[in-house]
């Protein structure tokens, strides 16, 4: 039942991570390019996976590429960009069915991997840079995506809050950058940056499948060997410092319901104790926030907390009627105080622990979730399995939870609210 994880160095700053799990009915290949986040390069970097996942010199149009992918039983090939701590992660992800399900036993996985590596190392070019028309469309798509962030108010509020929580830190930068930078992008700039990233970025490859595929590994190794590397060094994140006084920001939009995001900082060096503290405080439907702020007092429709171990921050994310904003803030802080005072039962703590164990044990059932797990672990500098983390979790004591809670300090209160209100 156990899964096999192996991490191997392929080159300077390049690692091949294979996760073998015999229950998988699909094969998944993920390529992460990890680089520093900055306002200047965020949009420039973000547009690259969009372009790479849309064509290659072999399949120069999206139509041709998609036709090939459909023939490979609807293989999926996607580009994405995400944030981990102070780093920007540009990714290509491909997935397909295990060859044994193919109607005629075709080598679906190797073919898919080849399509993917071609997209990575052999893009569709024109005059030595990305094909102009493709580039313009992808650039517009990036701009549309940045502008559309406002459509989902909860995640939009969270993004706006991060700008304030991480003021003057790389993590404040939105992962796709901003429209003003995106509008200035040119195909030549993007192509130059693409070459630079191939050369300098930290590259993490993940293969998840039912058994090792020497064929896939060779295709990937050959593709990466064709690159001249000048590795820029591993990425890491700094713990976010606490501001001198609580930063309060209110922004007004045309909305019916308000959102409040509270950011907290912690200098506690024990991420597992903080994880458990966070579960007791607000991360489960039996947590203090859910049971009291939402259920008992009906102050918020949703109210939950989260913990960012890379930055040492905790946040509380809530949907609240405008007239209840102040009350909700006071009550959320009340509940944090309760955890600090140790005002929770042993049963509360055991239940929170079980809830985390349940989610960690389930991680290995999904290809993407297990790949995401080991990527996050390697970023933090270890390769602990879910089971090993569970062993650590089991040892956390009540005193350690209280100590973790005591380290948590309010840093930022961000409110997104309606326009009709008093100034």
């Amino acid at each position: 039942m156990a899964i096999k994880y192996n991490r191997e160095k392929l080159g300077d700053g390049i690692h091949y991570n294979s996760i073998i799990n015999e229950r998988q009915k699909t094969n998944t290949v993920i390529m992460h390019f990890v680089t520093g986040l900055s306002q200047e390069t965020a949009s420039l970097n973000a547009v690259i996976p969009y372009i790479l996942a849309g064509s290659s010199s072999v399949y120069p149009t999206l139509t041709e590429l998609n036709k090939k992918l459909s023939e490979l039983y609807g293989a999926v090939l996607k580009g994405s960009v995400s944030k981990m701590g102070d780093s920007q992660v540009l990714s290509l992800m491909a997935g397909c069915i295990n060859d044994r399900y193919a109607f005629d036993g075709e080598a679906v996985t190797e073919e898919m991997t080849k399509v993917m590596t071609d997209c990575l190392t052999s893009p569709h070019l024109q005059d030595g840079v990305f094909f102009e028309k493709d580039f313009e469309l992808k650039k517009q798509e990036l701009i549309d995506d940045i502008e559309a962030e406002i459509n989902e108010k909860r995640s939009f509020a969270f993004k706006r809050a991060n700008i304030n929580i991480f003021r003057d830190e790389p993590a404040a930068v939105s992962v796709k950058g901003d429209v003003s930078h995106a509008e200035k992008l040119t195909s030549a700039d993007a192509f130059r940056q693409y070459l630079e990233l191939l050369k300098t970025a930290q590259i993490e490859i993940f293969f998840v499948g039912a058994q090792e595929s020497a064929g896939c590994k060779k295709i990937i190794t050959d593709a990466l060997n064709s690159i001249d590397r000048a590795f820029g060094g591993d990425n890491s994140s700094a713990k976010s410092p606490l501001k001198g006084e609580v930063c309060r920001v209110t922004e007004r939009y045309d909305v019916a319901q308000s959102k409040m995001v509270m950011g907290f900082k912690t200098d506690c060096g024990d991420p597992v104790a903080l994880k458990l503290m966070n579960a007791i405080f607000g991360a489960t439907p039996i947590s203090k926030l859910f049971m009291n702020v939402r259920e008992k007092l009906s102050l918020c429709y949703y109210c939950s907390s989260g913990y960012n171990d890379k930055k040492g921050t905790l946040y509380v994310d809530s949907g609240v009627e405008q007239e209840n904003i102040a009350k909700a803030e006071a009550e959320i802080l009340n509940q944090l105080d309760a955890v600090r005072r140790g005002d929770f039962t042993d049963e509360d703590m055991e239940n929170a622990r079980k809830s985390i164990m349940n989610s960690w044990r389930g991680v290995s059932d999904g290809a993407r979730s297990i790949a995401e797990w080991y990527f996050s672990r390697s970023y933090s500098g270890d390769s602990l399995s879910p089971e090993e983390m569970i062993e650590k979790l089991k040892k956390i004591t009540r005193e350690e939870v209280i100590k973790a809670a005591e380290s948590v300090r309010l840093d930022t209160v961000y409110v997104l609210t309606g326009k009709e209100a008093k100034a």
Binding site: E22, R23, Q24, K25, T26, T61, L62, T63, N66, K67, L69, S70, E71, L72, Y73, G74, A75, G95, C96, I97, Y101, L137, Q140, E141, D144, E147, A148, E149, I150, N151, E152, K153, V249, T250, E251, Y253, A256, Q257, T284, P285, I286, F290, R294, E295, S298, Y301, G319, E321, E347, N351, K354, S355, M357, N358, R361, G362, D365, A367, K419, A423
Partner: protein
């Protein structure tokens, strides 16, 4: 107790079907080497079932909109505590949801699966609410409804349904309205509970790391005997034409968002499954990312990668929906109608048919990785008295001729509604 192994040669997969003496249909799929178990206990009762009768009450009654969802919220409370607190002891992650045509209670866990199953079977069969606890829920559900008022993707969809449907309750928000939920009281909730939460109208579906005998033993112990109420639901007659061709609303969005719906005649049972699958083929051939139509609109900047299509169907309704963002949604609609008319005359792209079939099949195989997807497929099929493998088998057997016939039948370019959410053009300002 009637017990059958349902096996599929194509994939080599199988599950067990049990018709329990209480009337409950039970489906269990053991997934070798998985850690997670996912269980769903659901009733064929959703937001659209507001008009019904039973053997003991032979006249049709109509209840307020939003009551199925309200009932779901209230069932999560026991006499002395919240259901979440019960699950807390097992570590399971629990939830519930209400759709247009079903209400489901679920958990997923990696330990203590039988304890969690016991909790699930018990609380769903044991309603407890008083006037006071029912009243208290008005506030929270009211906030939930208001939250969706700000959600552009939700609004654009319901505005389209309101344009497409004159009478069918699918056009009403699943949670109801602030006004409709104000009419809900404890008596009405018990009435709906006693009608729809009869085991003859319900399904239990479990997939993952589970021992079938142990699960069935628990069912024998905990399931309560039910007399079949001979439930019948009904809908007001629905005209074939659409109600409004254009519905526009302004909200805080960046670019206009649209949904374009083609109203078609609903089917039932296996015919509905065939209609759904064949219509999905039509949608792929017409407008997926490999289609000439998609490329043309994309290259012209008329759509972006958010463009997608889906079939939306259920008891008494069936439509095909195209959605996305565009600076000119009405032009997208006009181009789409033009393309449909062209394909009706010149035929769909036959060269791509096999690739579309492989894609569809591949997506179904991918679902077999996931206990949640499997439990959901068994539940959905079970509620229609179908097999979970009917979809994969139907997909494997579809012909190009079936799909072409579906284009003629399901895409009447006179029965189209476009719903648009336009930006209010407000910029955020700091206070």
């Amino acid at each position: 107790m009637e017990k059958k192994i349902i096996r599929n040669e194509r994939t080599g997969e199988q599950y067990t079907y049990v018709k329990h003496p209480t009337g409950l249909n039970i489906y269990i799929w053991k997934m070798e080497n998985y850690s997670t178990t996912y269980a769903l206990f659901g009733t064929k009762y959703g937001s659209i079932n507001t008009k019904f009768k039973t053997k003991s009450e032979p006249d049709f009654v109509t209840v307020p909109n939003g009551i199925a969802h309200y009932l779901e919220h209230k069932l999560f409370e026991n006499e002395d505590c919240d259901v979440f607190s019960l699950y807390a002891k097992t570590g399971a992650s629990a939830n519930a949801y209400t759709t247009f045509d079903k209400t489901c209670y679920l958990f997923s866990c990696t330990d203590n699966v039988y304890e969690s199953l016991e909790i699930l079977l018990n609380f769903v069969q044991d309603p407890y609410f008083t006037e006071e606890t029912v009243q208290k829920e008005q506030g929270i559900i009211g906030q939930e409804i208001r939250m969706y008022d700000d959600n552009a993707n939700w609004r654009v969809f319901f505005n389209m349904l309101q344009g497409l449907y004159l009478n069918h309750p699918v056009k009403i928000d699943i949670a109801g309205t602030v006004e409709s939920i104000a009419q809900i009281n404890a008596d009405l909730l018990y009435k709906c509970y006693n009608t729809f939460y009869n085991l003859n109208n319900m399904v239990l579906s479990i997939a993952g790391n589970i021992d079938e005998d142990k699960a069935l033993e628990l069912c024998d112990k905990l399931l309560k005997n039910n007399e079949n109420p001979e439930l019948e639901t009904a809908f007001e007659p629905e005209p074939e034409t659409v109600c409004e061709k254009e519905v526009v609303q302004k909200l805080e969005v960046a670019m206009p968002i649209f949904n374009i719906g083609f109203k078609a005649k609903p089917e039932s049972g296996l015919e509905q499954v065939r209609a759904e699958i064949e219509t999905n083929f039509v949608l792929s051939l017409l407008s997926d990312e490999s289609s000439a139509f998609y490329k043309k609109l994309y290259d012209d900047g008329l759509i972006n990668s958010s463009f997608s299509s889906e079939v939306f169907l259920g008891d008494g309704y069936f439509c095909s929906i195209f959605g996305g963002e565009s600076r000119n949604p009405k032009l997208v609609r006009d181009k789409l109608i033009e393309e449909i008319n062209r394909c009706k005359k010149e035929g769909l792209d036959k060269d791509r048919f096999e690739a579309v079939k492989k894609s569809y099949y591949g997506a179904l195989i991918r679902d077999l990785n996931d206990s949640e997807a499997i439990a959901t497929v068994m539940l959905n099929a079970g509620m229609e008295k179908l097999s979970a493998f009917d979809i994969i088998e139907t997909v494997a057997k579809v012909t190009f001729e079936d799909v072409s016939a579906r284009l003629d039948k399901q895409f009447d370019t006179e029965k189209v509604t476009i719903s648009i959410i336009e930006p209010v053009h407000g910029e955020g300002e700091q206070a």
